[in-house]
Each structure stands twice: as structure tokens, then as C-alpha cells.
Symmetry: C2
Subunit: 396 residues, 2 copies
Amino acid sequence: MKALRIGIVGLGRGFMLTLPALRAHPRVEIAAAFDLRASPRAQFTREFGAKSYESLEGLLAADIDAVYIATPHELHATQAIAALGAGKHVLVEKPMAISVAECVAMEAAARRAGKLLLVGPSHGFDAPVRRAAELIASGGFGAVRQLTAMNFTDFMYRPRRPEELDSARGGGVVYSQAAHQIDVARRLVGRDVTFVRAVAGNWDSSRPSEGAYAAMMGFEGGAVASLTYSGYAHYDSDELVNWISELGREKDPEQYGDTRRALRNLEPATESAAKIRRAYGEDGASTSEPPAPYHEHFGFVLVSCERADLKLSPQGITLYGDEHREFLAIDPPSLPRVEVIDEFVEGALGLVQPIHDGRWGVKTVACCAALLESSRTGSEIAPTAMIIDTLEAVSV
Amino acid sequence: MKALRIGIVGLGRGFMLTLPALRAHPRVEIAAAFDLRASPRAQFTREFGAKSYESLEGLLAADIDAVYIATPHELHATQAIAALGAGKHVLVEKPMAISVAECVAMEAAARRAGKLLLVGPSHGFDAPVRRAAELIASGGFGAVRQLTAMNFTDFMYRPRRPEELDSARGGGVVYSQAAHQIDVARRLVGRDVTFVRAVAGNWDSSRPSEGAYAAMMGFEGGAVASLTYSGYAHYDSDELVNWISELGREKDPEQYGDTRRALRNLEPATESAAKIRRAYGEDGASTSEPPAPYHEHFGFVLVSCERADLKLSPQGITLYGDEHREFLAIDPPSLPRVEVIDEFVEGALGLVQPIHDGRWGVKTVACCAALLESSRTGSEIAPTAMIIDTLEAVSV
């Protein structure tokens, strides 16, 4: 059985969250890594007996088949294009990149190379989303007509690196968080987005980036999605999903305000360091936590089809039919994010046609860009038109 | 203390729901009634020792100061204009009427007569809405930025008269139900609506009218509201408000599907009759139910201000501040809808400046009309422009 030798680009928090699934996959070999920091490189070499590099060029020259890119958003495009150019399959964290033009260039590089470009993890991969999408696509409930999703988190007050709060560098909640919600909605509706109308909010001058939005997305065939998000750490919508956290763990509702209090007690100069402490190979971080008992999720998600509503939860799906209601339990995850690694490995080995490939990723980023553009201009934006305009600009 | 002698226009279900508050108000005298049906007229005369009429003209010639109009939507405008022309104050059920032009004519009639035109009951009057609006208006939480409201009910499958499912006659959920949600949102945000973008859905050909919608409303100052509604009797959002029904009573979640089953067992020819049985003076109806223990509500309502979120419930308001969360209990209602009768009586007697007057009502109906027009045309509609266009058409 042929294994995929994967090189890790960025030994940060993303890598830590995906590591259990990478490590456990029978067809994955964690073969090498690149990071600018010496400490996680040393830890990586100790833990995996594999070489680590202080440059991306070094990693790409190593004996690997693929890379997993888990670096800051603004580096995704350059790194992915370099890896594809070197003949590697690429798994890149969402957001795929921070502009439609970057995504188009990445997808073009993947086609030139004849290699897989997959965008994940995102909550569009979560098992309840996948199961609901399959049920909906089977047609038994009639067409999807409405989707209602909302998520209220403390995103804006977790320790952040400067670029994470800089809109010009893909900061704020749109590229980072709307990308999840849009992926979930697109996966469930199963059609292309025709328009986005949105208002994004920048409500706290001490954290000056978009921290909230309300968006309406129209789909081919007429379905409509209402997406609401706030990262301002007030209401917590995890109460609507049985007090299970985004990462599938039980959550204590009494810890209200903890994130903001912790940030208040942090010197501004040490905020980036506080984030790094949660990354791979650092003091505060552990890769030995037990796996989460529930599926990951992205808040309240309700899909209305003509003959039934479906409500997603970290434990399964509630089906609201004409006269009967039924809960479809979904077995707890073996490991978080295993669906992503499955899709990447099987896609790279040519065993399945992946869903979340570069074409998929361009469209989600186009929706994010349309969301911001709609908010800026006060008008409706067609994400497909943004992609076409970019393609024309590139071909000129 | 001067009392207001009120004549009832339409002894139906609306009258029954408002009757306890009318009867208990120290300044209200239920003085006369008009209905086309003999049986409720007889019941009315027995119960109140007051005269009832089989024509509106008869009622308007009686010794009354005001009327309460609780008839089918399409009759509101004609009846209100007649009553105002006869020098009576008018309380008219929502929707005020089923077109902007009708509403403009009603408001013009009120001004000519120098009488009060009040639109209610609607859930915009509910005590938690009022309290939250006052808290928000006091400014302590910063500006309102986002409002998220959703309500999933069985509206479309309750017994209906034919016009209630005929869009051309103001049927479907928009005039009947969006009018509530828009009133709630407008009251909480406290600013005029600048645009409506919406998709209304007509998903069941056996009940052919708009049964659901998703709407985005923008407000002066930049706030945005996301309003979602489905009356298709699948998911029930009362689970998000502690399983308390719209009318403030405890609800059994195990009665899933009952409304649709009951309708299925009804002969189509007897559906209107089934509705009438729930009206005043009919066998199945009772005016002696104990008052509801909780406030009325219109589903999930969350308001995001710059420095706090507020979540409404039938028991009070949860305030989600920066570091603390607090529940503001609101005393249970003495009687349902007493706020409406208070505002009407005090407004008619010149003691207060009413909020939900004809000017208010025109704007809510303009938002309903804009919602339908946006859905029909696929474009954003400014409700104010609809009012101005109507005024110009009238003045020509």
C-alpha cells in the first residue's frame, strides 16, 4: 500500500490540531517539516525522527510527495505555488488565500503541475455536514430552499498575531471564520452561489478589523442562506449546540468572559507570544490531549428543504419531517479532522474525486471577498463575476 | 376619570385574544360591536349587555369614541377610514392593511379627523421588546449593529380562511407574520429601515402562498437585521425560548406534527369552519382561560450592540456584557396585550405620544411590501421610496 510522504509547512497551532489525524492515517508518513523557529523544529525531529528545514526550499527539495501548509493566511499562495511547482500535492489550511487573484494563481499552478490542491480543514468537512449534504442530495426532502446559520464566538479576543487583526492582510473574521460558514452552506446546498449581500462590522477600535457580519447568499436554483457571525465574545451560540465547543469538547457555560479577562491581563507586547505558546513544540502546548468526544461544528445550522428541516449538531442530525421528528446519531469521531486527511490522501493517490479542491476553494474565497465588497459598497456582489474578472485580468 | 367607549369591529379570534386586556382596563368600556354573524352578536349582547350591529354603519352611528378593528386584513383600510371619517379613534390589528397605498390613505384619514390610529397588537408591544428597546436607547451598550431574529412555526397548517392563503389578498406569512418580526426589529433598533433584500418561499402547492422568507434589512446608522421565518411546521424554534409558545404558555415538545395531522383529518370544505370554531361566541372557544404565565414572543431575537448582546425571552432579557452576563427578569404579564390597550387609551386621551401610530404602521407595511417586491425582482428595495412613490401617486 503506497504511502504519501508529507512535509509540514508551519509547525503552529493548525498543525497541532491536525496532527492526530495525520499521525494515525495508515497511508500518511510525516516525513519532514519547515518552520522558521528552532524550538519546534527540534521537537519535530525528536518526535518523528524526521528532518526539519529552516527554509521552504529545503523542504521542497526533500523526498516528499506532498505538503500540508498551516502558516499565516498571507503566505498560503506563495508557498502553495512553490510546492506545486516542485511537483508536490498541497493541502492548504482555509482560507485558501486572501484574494481571488491569489486563489486563481494557485489553482492554475495545480493544473500546470497535475497535482492535487486541497483546502482544509474547514467545518465543511465535519461528519454531520457531510451526512446532511448526502441526505439532502439524495432528494428525499425536496429542494433546499433556506439555510440559517449563526455562530457567536470569542474569536476577536483570543491571543492574536498582528496580521490576524489587519484586514489588509486577511485578518478579521471574514477570511478566517466566514470561510467555514460559507463552506458549510455551500456543501449543504450543493449549488453555486449567485449573489452575496452583506454588512460586516468593525465595532471595537482596540481590535480594529471586521469582527462580525450578517450575510445573505443566493444560490442557483433559488435557495437562500442567512449567515450571521459575531466574534465579539458576548452571546455564545454554543448554548444552541448542547454546550459543545467548536472543537467537539464539553464547555462550561460558567466560564463567561474568561477570554476577554485573560486578554485584559496580558501585556499587548506579549500577545503574539501568548498565541505561540499554544503552538507545536512550545511549553504550554500538548499533543497528548485525548480526542474530542463529539464532532467539530460551526454553530447553529438549520437547513429547510421543501418537505423537511434538518438541524445539525455535534452528535448528529435532527430531521423534522411533515409529521415526525427523528434524531440521526452520528458515531463519535475516531479522531478530529480525519475526514480531511482521508480526502487529501485518497485524492492525491487518485482514488476519489475530491470535493474541496482548488476550484471549490476559489469559490469560497470569492464569497468572502464578495462579502467584504458588498459591505463596502452597499450593493449585491456576484462571486462568480469576481472570479471571471480576475481570470480576465490574469489572461491580459 | 374619563373612559373610552370602544366598539368592536369583528368578533373573531383577534377579539378573543385581546378581550381580557380590554375588559380589565379601568378606562375602557366595551360599548358595542359589529359582526356579520348572528351567533357571536347574541353572545356579545348577553355577555356585555351592549348593543351589537350587523353593519359597520350601525356601529359607527352608536355612542362610541373608538373602534377596535379585528377583521380580515383586506377589510382594514375601508373600515378604518370609515371609522376615522365618523370621528372615532381606531385601533387596528396588524397588518395595518395589505398595501402601502391603503396605509397612506388610512394615515391621511387619521390626520384629517384629528383622531388616533394605532396598529396593534403586534409582538413589537411585548414587554421584553419594550424593555430591551429602552435599555438600548439609553445608550449604555453603544450603537446597535446587528439583530438576528428567527421564528419557525406551524402557521401554514393551522385552519385558514381562503384569503389567508391568497397572496393577492394579503395572505401568506409576510403581511401576517413578517409584520411582527419587522415591528420587533424596528422597535429594538429604533431607526428607519433603508433597504430590504429578501427571498420569500412558496414551497407547498397545497397551501399556495408565501410560507417562509429570509430577509436582510438595513437601518439608518448602519445596523443590519437578519430575519428568518418559516411557517411550514417542521423545526419549531420555540425550543430556543424554553418551550414557551408565542402566546406565553408552556408547550409540549412531544406534540410534534399535531397541527399538520389535524389538518389532514379535516375535510377541505370545513377548514374555514374549523377556524371559526376558535372565534368568539363559538362552541370550541372559551374566553375564560387563565391568563398566560409568560410574556408573548416572536421566536429567537438577539440584538448585538457594540458593547453587549441582548437576548430576549418570554421571561426577560439576558445581557451579555464584556465580562459578565446577567438575566433581567421581567415580571409576568398581568394580562396579555395590556400594553396595547394602554398605549391606545392613553394615546386617544392625549396622555402619551403613541409609538405604534399610523406613521409607524405605514413603515412596517412598506417593509412587508418591500420584502415581497425584493423577492419578486431579485433586487434591494427601499421601503421609504415605496411610501414616497405612493404619496406622489396619491397627490397626482
